[in-house]
C-alpha cells in the first residue's frame, strides 16, 4: 500500500472522474479539467505506479439470482497458523476480501454466493481444506443497502 504519496486537488479530480467512468480518454479528462493530455497522462502514470488507484471492471450483482455477501469469520488452529492461513485464503479466486482481525475472529474473509448450497459447498470443499482453518462462523449479508465499490486495497 502506498502511504507516502501526496495527492493534490488535480489528482483528486482525476480520481473522482475515473471513479465514474474509467474508459474516458486522457484527452477528454484534460478537456474537462482544462489541462493538457500530457499532464493527465503523467498524473495517471504516477497514480497507477504508486498504487493509489487501479481500474476494475465491476459486474452488476443484479446479474446474480440472489446475491448474498457471506462474511466468513475464521478461527485458526493456533495463532502461529494465522499468517499462512490468511495468505492461502487470499489466493482463492472466489474470495474478494481477506484481512487478519483485531476482534471478532482471527481472519475475516468475504465471498459472494447465490444460495445456501453454494456456500456449503464452498465452505466444505475449499475453505475447510485450507491448512490452519479450525472453525468458520458465518453471517450472511442480504439485500445490499449500500456498497461503495470504489474502495479497494492495492496489496502485493
Amino acid at each position: 500500500m502506498s502511504k507516502g504519496v501526496a495527492l493534490d486537488e488535480i489528482d483528486h479530480k482525476i480520481i473522482e472522474r475515473l471513479g465514474i467512468d474509467a474508459r474516458v480518454s486522457n484527452r477528454e479528462i484534460g478537456r474537462e479539467l482544462g489541462l493538457t493530455e500530457g499532464t493527465i497522462r503523467s498524473r495517471l502514470k504516477r497514480l497507477f505506479d504508486n498504487r493509489v488507484i487501479r481500474v476494475a471492471a465491476i459486474t452488476n450483482t443484479s446479474r446474480l439470482r440472489n446475491p448474498i455477501l457471506a462474511y466468513l469469520w475464521i478461527e485458526a488452529n493456533s495463532a502461529s497458523d494465522i499468517e499462512d492461513m490468511a495468505a492461502a485464503l487470499a489466493k482463492v479466486p472466489e474470495i474478494g476480501f481477506v484481512a487478519t482481525m483485531l476482534g471478532r475472529a482471527d481472519v475475516l474473509a468475504m465471498t459472494l454466493v447465490e444460495n445456501g448450497n453454494e456456500l456449503t459447498d464452498f465452505l466444505h470443499q475449499t475453505v475447510d481444506r485450507i491448512p490452519g482453518v479450525r472453525r468458520v462462523r458465518y453471517s450472511l449479508g442480504q439485500n445490499f443497502i449500500k456498497h461503495d465499490f470504489r474502495w479497494c486495497a492495492l496489496v502485493d
Binding site: A22, R23, I58, A87, I95, G103, T111, N143, W151
Partner: protein, 170 residues
Amino acid sequence: MARDATARSGGRGRGGGDAATYELDEIDEKIIATLRQSGRIANRDLARIVDVNEATVRTRLRRLEESDSVRVVAMRDLAAMGFECLAAVGIQVKGRSAADVGHDLAQLDEVVTVNVSIGTHDVEAQVVARDLADLDRLLTHVIAHVPGVEKIVPGLALKVLKYTPDWAPL
C-alpha cells in the same frame, strides 16, 4: 467480491434485477474478462484480443454500460487515500427494522458497505476511518446514536491481504 476470475456467472444469472435484461454471450464475456485485466485498454486493442472488429467492441461496450451490466471504474486504495482503519461492524437493532437502520447508516460517507444480515447481528457494515480517534468518533459518537442501534460489535482489520470487489450493485 470476485466470485470468479472471469465474468462467467454473469451469463448464468439472469436474476431479478434491471440489468439482467439480456444474456451475455461469449463476446461480452471476453470483453469483460479483458477489461478486468486492463480497464483502460484502447478499443482497437480490445478488438484485437477478442477477435472482432472495433465497431463491434464499441457497440458491445455501449450495451454493457447502458444496461448497467458492467462498469469500468477506478478504485481507490484506502491507505493511499488516507484511511488507515477498516472495520467490520456487526450491529444489533432494537425497536426499528434492520433495513431502516441500515438505510440511515448508508447515509454516512465512512460507511462503505451495509447489508441486512442473518446471523448473530441484524446488520453488517464495513466502515473506514482515518485513524483510531476517527474510528472512535464514528463508532461511539455517530453510529451508536443512530436510532435503533442497540449494540455495536466491531472488528478492526489489522492487515488487509485482499480487497478487490469485482461485483457490486450498480
